[in-house]
């Protein structure tokens, strides 16, 4: 009787060990899927926010006002020392038309989004 109980416990422990092993293998694969999903989500969120920031800056350039240049981690306009993202505006004046290249970059100076805007230099309204 004792022998049977012991063998049952042994079998259960063996099964548990195998289950934990399998779970570890599957969990590694699944965790990688979760991490890649999070990275994709983060990238697309940053791209959407960068597009909005660039659009905002483009409309400011067209209206002749100063756009927000520095943004914090949550894409809220901030001071330079708190910024995680920044906009660079490069203006090339040509005859009749002024071209502004707006580039949104992150802390590592990697370009997220770029937009070219042209404005009339001589407009009545």
């Amino acid at each position: 009787m004792r022998k049977r109980i012991d063998s049952g416990h042994g079998l259960m422990l063996f099964e548990l060990l195998i289950a934990i092993g399998f779970f570890a293998v599957f969990a590694t694969i699944i965790l990688r899927l979760f991490i890649s999903a999070q990275q994709i989500s983060l990238q697309s969120n940053n791209l959407s926010r960068a597009i909005m920031a660039a659009e905002n800056a483009a409309e400011c350039v067209k209206a002749g006002t100063e756009p927000a240049v520095f943004y914090n981690e949550d894409w809220v306009p901030s001071e330079q020392n708190e910024s995680a993202y920044r906009l660079t505006l490069e203006t090339v004046p040509e005859e009749g038309v002024s071209t502004t290249i707006i580039t949104v970059k992150d802390k590592a100076d990697t370009e997220i989004f770029s937009l070219t805007v042209k404005t009339l230099q001589e407009a009545g309204a």
Binding site: A37, G96, L120, E122
Partner: protein, 137 residues
């Protein structure tokens, strides 16, 4: 069986169930992230197309102004047809994509361009969906 508490095979069952749940959740998360990415890329191309058309419209206006200063009134510039509706008022449109365009109305006064309207319009005719099957009692 009762004396031992958990029987043989229950660990495997729990493993199968938990792995299945985690796999389904991870695949759902991944597909949602991919959809978000697609949406962002669509937004990117839409904004790029809009500002490309906007830039083309600005170039046309600048070129028209330069021509008008030389006494010329062109009827076509950079592929855009410029139509006049009298009193030195003109209009033209630049295509953004197959569904939208930028319609510009302007006038030339004292050698200066005065933009009257600069708006995004739909090229496609709006077809209201009036054939929804609703319960009429």
């Amino acid at each position: 069986m009762n004396r031992r508490g958990i029987g043989i095979g229950s660990a495997s069952l729990i493993l199968i169930f938990s792995v299945l749940c985690l796999t389904v959740f991870s695949l759902l998360t991944l597909s949602m992230a991919n959809r978000e990415k697609e949406l962002s890329e669509k937004l990117e191309s839409s904004v790029e197309n809009y500002y490309a058309a906007d830039s083309a419209a600005v170039e046309i206006a600048a070129e028209f102004l330069a021509n008008s200063k030389n006494g010329k009134i062109p009827s076509e510039l950079n592929g855009a047809i410029i139509s006049s509706n009298g009193e030195c008022r003109f209009n033209y449109s630049c295509t953004i994509d197959d569904r939208r365009s930028i319609a510009v109305k302007f006038e030339i006064k004292d050698g200066k361009i005065n933009i009257l309207s600069w708006q995004e319009t739909n090229i496609e005719e709006w077809l209201p969906n009036d054939n929804i099957n609703v319960w009429k009692g």
